[in-house]
């Protein structure tokens, strides 16, 4: 009986690989995990022309570097298990990107067959692909396939059987330029001296991976008899530069092949391409990102003004009505100071929250936020941080709870833990009312700039903290992430409004729930023991505040702010509602603003310190619970609280004294 033919099915994600695998193997499949990792391993069998064909579906990857478990699994299978044939499923409508993997597969030396999938899509938009010419240029068979209908499947199986029978290795290589080739040649010479390496690895591929700085391969080689010689030859190498040069050469080769085998495949720039060329530009990308974010916060603050004034007017009217018509004094105080002062003080900021979510929805719907992640990835990777973590950071602008849950997409446990720990520094929507209140009261027309500054400070602290964790408690190398950019779209108002409502309504629900309860508790603490002045130092709130005051006094804050900060641990919005209750602001935020401005204990520098402290001091209860759940330990949740308090106190202290020097009040 003839030996079974082993086939590895490789390809980029979303190219129809799984559909082709299912069509090839039918119901004869086995699903498990690759040894040592949680990456899914799918195997199937097909009988064809009297031969048994064993197909292994490799994880979808864009390249064969060693940046993710998927890539390592895919390339190790090809190198170590030595399948008789590698079938790469290629998306014909995106040839340039797909052929990059082809170039890397070819270097592994195994026979490769291209299954040209999605040709119907490519041809539907006017591309004409000459697969015979493509096969000549790539020196490998190219078979048209349509995974869903099974078209081309028999041709593919014929090619598999024929190629396996020949047993020829792929020998075409890309020229990487004189400098790199000289280095590759030297390394191949050195590697050849170890008799164990050559039978296990294609030496040229090994040399290429070494000069691209592949840590996985360096570990393999360092354990061999030629490890020292290789290290000596690589001593002065700039790995990043070589990696970029080699990638350029591969794309150059693709660029030379494509026009000969495909018409139109090289298309003129679309509107999306044009925008990307600018917004992801090396010099302009980050300034444009910052400018747009500044614009978002400027709008959030300015456009909400008449709406806020309208809500203040309504609560003012309600407050007057309660004071004039409600019977017992304690009930009038409960409704006026507790409910209207607390909940009303927070509801005033609903327009800001909704406008911010509307703008973020528009930016997200347009496809720009994905570019924001791309732009920041470069910066984050440059300082050794996981690029993927910027997406949870962006989500954190809304709420840290779903943002932390979204870190599940990060494969590396340390990268994920770092991302979870720094996420509470990203300013969620709940903190916005605090900034609007204090910035509006103490900074007038510059309030928008101050609020924008708070958001930037949050991002900076998150990035620097991640760097600190990476170099101390959670060492390791960060992995770059590959993301597909969605095309730019003109967002529809309906979608943007729906998205805004979905996120903003959570805030409204909180106002009727946890904020109301928090306000009532603070009202009780401010009103009792019986007989004391409302919100006085003799009240329970006053006693608690006075007890904590020494801790916040160096930050320019008094006991009332201390009480508000304590209750803010439950939910950050309660900081404002607590202040509303404690300052007896039953006429909405206008009265609270006046009360804050009139408080001799507060200055502009103190207001900045409050904002910095609220931004950084500790995750709210819901965020803390999700940190515990996602890290599986109270240890990290506790660490998050302690670290946040230390950072918040230190930065608020510095802010108070530096701002006090310029603005007075310290």
């Amino acid at each position: 009986m003839k030996k079974a033919i082993t086939v590895a099915l490789a390809g980029n994600p979303n190219v129809g690989k799984t559909t082709l695998f299912n069509t090839l193997t039918g119901s004869r499949q086995h699903v498990g995990n690759w040894p040592g990792v949680t990456v899914e391993k799918k195997e199937g069998i097909r009988e064809y022309s009297g031969r048994t064909i064993e197909v292994t579906d490799l994880p979808g990857t864009y390249s064969l570097t060693a940046y993710s478990a998927d890539e390592v699994v895919a390339r190790n299978f090809i190198i170590e298990d030595r399948p008789d044939v590698v079938v790469q499923v290629v998306d014909a409508s995106n040839l340039e990107r797909n052929l990059y993997l082809t170039m890397q597969l070819a270097e592994l030396g195994r026979p490769v067959i291209i299954a040209l999938n999605m040709v119907d899509v490519a041809e539907g938009r006017g591309d004409t692909i000459d697969e015979k010419r493509l096969a000549e240029l790539l020196a490998m068979p190219v078979i048209r396939t349509v995974g869903t209908s099974g078209e081309g499947l028999l041709d593919l199986l014929d090619a598999v059987v024929a190629i396996a029978a020949k047993g020829e290795k792929h020998t075409h290589t890309i020229g990487y330029g004189d400098d790199a080739e000289a280095l590759i040649s030297d390394l191949v010479g050195i590697l050849d001296d170890d008799p164990d390496l050559a039978p296990r690895y294609p030496l040229r591929w090994l040399a290429v991976r070494l000069i691209e700085g592949d840590a996985d391969i360096r570990r393999v080689v360092s354990g061999s008899s030629v490890g020292d010689a290789v290290s000596a030859r690589l001593a002065d190498i700039d790995f990043d530069e070589y990696e970029a040069t080699l990638a350029d050469k591969r794309y150059e080769a693709i660029g030379a092949i494509l026009p000969q085998a495909c018409t139109i495949c090289v298309r003129k720039m679309t509107g999306s391409d044009m925008i990307d060329r600018v917004v992801t530009n090396k010099y302009l990308g980050i300034p444009i990102f910052l400018a747009l974010m500044w614009g978002a916060f400027q709008l959030t603050f300015a456009v909400a003004e008449p709406f806020m004034a309208g809500i203040e007017y309504i609560f003012g009217w309600l407050g007057e009505g309660v004071a004039a018509s409600v019977g017992p004094e304690w009930l009038a105080s409960l409704l006026g100071d507790g409910v209207i002062g607390g909940v009303g003080g927070v509801l005033v900021f609903v327009p800001n929250i909704f406008i911010l979510f509307l703008i973020l929805s528009i930016l997200e719907g347009s496809g720009y936020l994905a570019r924001g992640a791309f732009i920041m990835d470069r910066l984050m990777y440059a300082i050794g941080l996981p690029g993927k973590s910027f997406i949870p950071m962006l989500m954190g602008f809304g709420c840290n709870v779903p943002a932390i849950m979204s870190t599940r997409t990060i494969e590396d446990e340390r990268d994920r833990l770092i991302t979870i720990l720094v996420n509470p520094f990203i300013s969620c929507g709940a903190r916005l009312p605090v900034y609007i209140l204090f910035a509006g009261v103490f900074f007038g027309r510059d309030a928008g700039n101050v609020i924008f500054g708070m958001y930037i400070l949050g991002i900076l602290v998150a990035i620097l903290s991640a760097k600190l964790f990476r170099s101390t408690v959670l060492p390791g190398e960060s992995s770059p992430f590959i993301m597909e950019m969605p095309p730019y779209r003109i967002p529809t108002l309906k979608n943007a409004l729906l998205n805004m409502w979905e996120k903003g309504s959570t805030y409204l629900k909180k106002a009727g729930g946890i904020i109301l309860i928090g306000s009532l508790i603070v009202w009780f603490l401010a009103s009792y023991p019986a007989g004391v002045g409302y919100g006085s130092e003799e009240s329970f709130a006053g006693m608690i505040g006075k007890f904590v005051e020494p801790l916040v006094a160096p930050l320019g804050l008094d006991w009332k702010i201390a009480v508000a900060l304590i209750f803010g641990f439950v939910a950050k919005e309660i900081v404002v509602s607590s202040l509303g209750v404690l300052y007896g602001a039953e006429e909405g935020s206008a009265a609270l603003s006046d009360a804050l401005l009139a408080d001799p204990a507060l200055s502009a520098a103190g207001a900045l310190a409050v904002m910095v402290f609220v931004l950084l001091y500790m995750p709210c209860v819901a965020t803390l619970a999700v940190i515990k759940k996602e890290t599986g330990s109270w240890r990290w949740a506790g660490f998050s609280v302690l670290y946040g308090l230390v950072v918040a106190w230190s930065l608020a202290f510095v802010t108070f004294h530096v701002a006090g020097f310029f603005l007075g009040g310290a």
């Binding site: 044009m274 600018v278 302009l284 456009v303 008449p306 007017y313 924008f452 095309p487």
Partner: protein, 146 residues
């Protein structure tokens, strides 16, 4: 319109934005320069930064187009879009401020107040609008409706 006209437009508008941005930042330190008041320029580091970003984007487009890189036109288009976005932000902010004053603060809006709101980011956006009218369709043709 020809690429030559786009190049000149990008250069002129880019320089105007860059100068306005630099002046807005200079006005933080030296607010008493007479011409600043006429041009509606007041010290504002963040506002100056925005003007410089728009100017930089447009001027980058001019540099690329001058080198014969056709794709440089992307910088012109995005620069115009940024100019319009920030012009609109200014307009909305001013409108909201006046609405609050008129509806809830019983304050009359005077001509002097209106004049104060005529700032570079607003009037330069009018020039950008001319560019948008001329080349806007060419730019938005490749975008999808979501």
């Amino acid at each position: 319109m020809s690429e030559y006209q786009k190049r000149i437009f990008a250069a002129l508008l880019g320089v105007l934005y860059l100068l306005a941005g630099a002046a807005t930042i200079i006005a933080v330190a030296i607010p008493e320069i007479g011409i600043f008041e006429v041009l509606g320029i007041s010290g504002d580091p963040a506002g100056g930064f925005i003007l410089i970003v728009i100017g930089g984007t447009l001027f980058y487009g001019y540099l690329e187009l001058s080198k014969g890189i056709h794709e440089g036109v992307a910088f012109l288009h995005v620069g115009i879009a940024l100019a319009l976005v920030f012009g609109m932000i200014q307009l909305l902010s001013t409108g909201a401020e006046f609405a609050t004053m008129a509806l809830f603060e019983d304050e009359a809006i005077t001509l002097g107040m209106l004049r104060e709101e005529i700032v570079p980011v607003l009037y330069l956006a009018l020039i950008a609008l001319a560019g948008f009218i001329a080349w806007g369709k060419e730019f938005s043709a490749g975008l999808l409706r979501g």
